[in-house]
């Protein structure tokens, strides 16, 4: 609990409604979409950059810890008050400030929900491509802090690729702008892209300018059904190798198919070993041609059946179901950890098999989902958090999966970030000089260490 003086100052800045300290309220800010819990001492909700700066100045003057948060859909405690202190939640700072058609950019506040921005720009014939599975939950501020990727990564890249500029509040309380609204910008260090993916450890993002694309004229969703997961995995590697670039290329195994079918009743084939969900987009002619090309390709790789969605509504249902995969498998067991080790796409199949082997050996239940085109695996590990022995087996499996991914040239985390769940693996991927440079950068931004303490660089 903050001291009465601090509390008074907080209430002065935010008013009583937007400064919460009751135990019930604090408990609801103690978690994200992962298994960890840390109780903050207060939660505040800024509506302006000025309020945000005022909070940071108060925190700097009193050495208070502050941790930024959006919707709390993170998967590694990045937005939790790991060392206590104040959570600054941007959910109420959620206006779309500008959608500029002439120069194709949009300016938003950090609390805007990603899918709300997508819908708003699509109404104007524009397109914001980054599409994480949690797009209907997560905020733009969270997406910037975590550099979220998602399902369209294979063709369109990730959040970082769409950032033009940011307004940030430094841990000193100063307000600073990075980037421009122009498509090209090489003036100085690229601080925009440094803040992006910094997991809320360098600065608070209060305004975001993103680049937009013209909306693809049409798209087609193919559901490709396989009798073996190897054939599905090989198809993915071969599609990429052949130079075909679908908009999305998602792989799901038998257990995911079953869970999705149980939750959404889409008529997915329950006897299939794997399904690839493939989107092709562009103008009509191109889409027709590409869809045929992909379908033929998949057939040649041993696909059992190819279903093409008949309508936009069917597309929508399929992707809505895919978005809920994380939750849907939680029907099977109470807890679910979602891994995101990412490997070069050429070794996708061997990695999937390795993951399955590791989990089987450790007697851990696993379902495999992947943004396959990116080599971005999402093994969903199922367990019951209340069972300590099972939890230990889960941790051991994670250790082995990470070690394997790194051994084939992959990365610890493709898109979920490090937070505290992967902090212990950091030295396995980052060299001593690399960690030193990162810590020096952190110091340059936040010499007092008040912003999001206990994060990936200093978690013990």
């Amino acid at each position: 609990m903050p001291s009465p003086e601090i509390l008074k100052d907080l209430t002065n800045i935010f008013g009583p409604e937007r400064c919460k300290t009751a135990k019930e309220d604090l408990l609801t800010y103690s978690y994200d979409a992962c298994i960890y819990e840390f109780l903050p001492e207060a939660v505040v909700f800024p509506k302006t950059t000025k309020e945000t700066a005022a909070l940071v100045m108060l925190a700097a003057a009193n050495n208070l810890f502050i941790t930024p948060r959006g919707s709390g859909s993170g998967l590694g405690a990045e937005a939790l008050a790991k060392k206590g202190g104040i959570v600054i939640c941007f959910s109420m700072m959620n206006r779309i400030l500008e959608i500029n058609r002439a120069n194709r950019f949009a300016v938003v506040e950090p609390g805007v929900i990603i899918s709300d921005l997508q819908k708003a720009v699509e109404r104007l014939g524009l397109f914001y491509p980054p599409d994480p599975g949690s797009a209907t939950v997560a905020t733009m501020g969270g997406a910037v802090a975590m550099n979220s990727g998602g399902m369209r990564g294979v063709k369109y890249g990730v959040t970082r690729d769409y950032l033009l500029g940011l307004e940030i509040v430094l841990p000193s309380g100063e307000v600073m702008n990075t980037g421009t609204i122009t498509a090209k910008d090489v003036t100085g260090y690229d601080l925009t892209r440094l803040i992006c993916g910094s997991e809320g450890t360098l600065a608070l993002v209060t305004r975001i300018t993103v680049r937009l694309l013209p909306k693809p004229k049409t798209k087609r969703t193919l559901q490709v059904i396989y009798d073996s997961i190897e054939a599905a995995g090989d198809t993915v590697s071969n599609i990429i190798a052949a130079g075909i670039i679908p908009a999305t290329l998602e792989l799901m195994d038998r257990m995911i198919i079953k869970a999705l079918e149980e939750s959404a009743h889409l008529g997915l084939p329950l006897d299939a070993e794997a399904i690839l969900l493939i989107d092709v987009d562009g103008d009509m002619e191109n889409v027709e041609r590409q869809a045929a090309q992909v379908a033929e390709f998949c057939k040649a790789q041993g696909a059992r059946e190819i279903r093409v969605s008949a309508s936009e509504k069917e597309n929508e249902q399929l992707w809505t179901a895919r978005r809920s995969a994380f939750g849907a498998v939680a029907r099977l067991r109470p807890s679910c950890l979602i891994e995101d080790a990412t490997v070069p796409v050429s070794v996708l199949t061997t990695t999937i098999n390795k993951v399955k082997e590791i989990c089987a050996r450790n007697q851990v239940q696993v379902a495999v989902l992947a943004h396959a085109g990116d080599g971005n695996l999402h093994p969903l590990i199922l367990f019951d958090q209340r069972d300590a022995r099972e939890l230990a087996r889960v941790e051991k499996s994670m250790d082995e999966i990470v070690a394997y991914a790194l051994s084939v040239g992959g990365t610890l985390s493709g898109e979920h970030g490090i937070g505290i769940s992967k902090a212990k693996y950091l030295p396995q991927q980052l060299s001593t000089p690399s960690l030193r440079v990162m810590r020096t950068i952190k110091k340059a931004f936040d010499p007092q260490g008040i912003l999001n303490p206990g994060s990936f660089l200093d978690w013990e």
Partner: protein, 412 residues
């Protein structure tokens, strides 16, 4: 504890993915976690684990819920959030009791004599009383002036117990007349009976029927509601009819789902079995009408109508297309879909009385989507939604109807 072991275990299946957050009209408005379904479930978990006291503030947070069930249908883990929430509300009532105002209302609704008695005096005194009300006053979000007048005579008393069809009846139904139709919206009941009569269906209206009890349950006063439930189960024998017809989304939800579930949760196995038998025969009027070729009977009705999905029809009963089909069957009537027809109107029964500001902010969005369609009529199969939408339409000339009212108008 009223929370069943099954529901308790469900709490652990919430993996906190957050998909429910932005589906929740209340969270969308308030934007803090305690108002979200995920937040509430996590707090309930803490209470069940004994880590948090079921405090006043906890109760308040739990109260900021429309019970629109959007979270339950969105939840990929299949957590039945609305059921957990209802159980917890019932639990809280044991600790904190019910406010005197609500106690009075529930007492009325659960009494077979008091309700008609009060309604009689309400009618008799209504006009002089209205003059005494402040002109700009509101009941919750609804201006006094936009509260509909009570029926001159309860609908049940306007018809004989059995409304026979001319000749050999083509069907026989029991009609469960909800309180709203009985006391407020007589035209809905009249339209329904007239339609069925013209379709040569015999309509039986048990004169002793009581309030379905759902509004009482929703607020958590389950034991009070039991009386109504038992009485209605005794009165409605599904065996001798083709269907038990309802014209109210909430009554339908009660008879089809809430009766069996609630009785099971309360361990009333015998009554639950009777409730399950009844539930199989219950049909919303829009479902029952789908059995008939309506087109041949209908004359054109010009105008533009938009349809609002009541929570208790769409989510509780899975009824989406049937009421739209009723509207589509009317020649020349143009059905325009509003954006987000499935989003709760913000009424939520007594929610709008408890949280007028919040409710009116949610309703304002609904009203805007209605205005955007430029329709001159809104159709909806729930009297609660009807009151809420009509009450918040301000000076708009848009009128709100039950689909059967429009159908009856077009019936030649």
């Amino acid at each position: 504890m009223i929370i069943s072991p099954e529901l308790k275990e469900q709490v652990y299946h919430c993996i906190r993915c957050g998909l429910c957050l932005n589906s929740c009209p209340v969270y969308r408005q308030l934007c803090f976690e305690g108002a979200s379904p995920r937040g509430k479930i996590q707090l309930i978990k803490k209470v069940l684990e004994g880590q948090l006291e079921a405090s006043d503030h906890f109760g308040r947070l739990l109260g900021t819920c429309l019970l629109c069930e959007t979270c339950s249908v969105t939840c990929p883990s299949g957590v039945k959030l609305d059921r957990i929430m209802k159980s917890m509300r019932a639990e809280l009532i044991k600790t904190f009791g019910v406010s005197w105002e609500k106690r009075a209302v529930f007492h009325l609704l659960s009494s077979s004599h008091l309700l008609p008695f009060m309604m009689f005096w309400g009618r008799t005194l209504e006009n002089p009383l209205r003059l005494l009300l402040p002109q700009r006053g509101r009941a919750g979000t609804i201006p006094y002036a936009k509260i509909p007048r009570l029926n001159a005579k309860p609908l049940i008393h306007q018809f004989p117990e059995v409304v026979t069809a001319a000749g050999q009846p083509k069907g026989r139904v029991l009609y469960f007349v909800g309180c709203a139709t009985n006391y407020l919206f007589e035209n809905v009941g009249r339209s329904l009976i007239r339609l069925l009569n013209r379709l040569e269906v015999e309509v039986i209206i048990p004169q002793e029927q009581m309030c379905c009890g759902f509004p009482i349950c929703l607020a958590g006063a389950r034991t009070t509601a039991l009386k109504n439930i038992r009485h209605n189960l005794d009165l409605f024998d599904p065996q001798k009819v083709d269907a038990v017809i309802v014209d109210c989304a909430t009554c339908g939800a009660a008879l089809k789902r809430e009766y069996p579930q609630l009785l099971e949760e309360m361990g009333e196995e015998k009554a639950a079995a009777a409730a399950r038998r009844l539930a199989q025969k219950v049909l919303d009027i829009s479902q029952y009408l789908a059995r008939f070729e309506l087109a041949q009977h209908l004359k054109p009705l010009t105008g533009k109508v938009t349809y609002h999905d009541p929570c208790h029809l769409l989510r509780t009963q899975g009824i989406k297309e049937e009421p739209r089909n009723v509207l589509r069957s009317i020649p020349e009537l143009e059905l325009i879909e509003m954006e987000g027809a499935e989003v709760c109107c913000g009424g939520g029964g007594v929610f709008q009385l408890d949280h007028p500001e919040l409710a009116s902010a949610i309703t304002a969005k609904k009203i805007q989507t209605i205005r955007d369609t430029q329709a001159d009529m809104v159709a909806t199969g729930c009297p609660g939604c009807r009151l809420q939408i009509h009450g918040n339409l301000e000076d708009d000339p848009v009128e709100v109807f039950h689909p059967v009212e429009l159908l009856a108008k077009a019936f030649s």
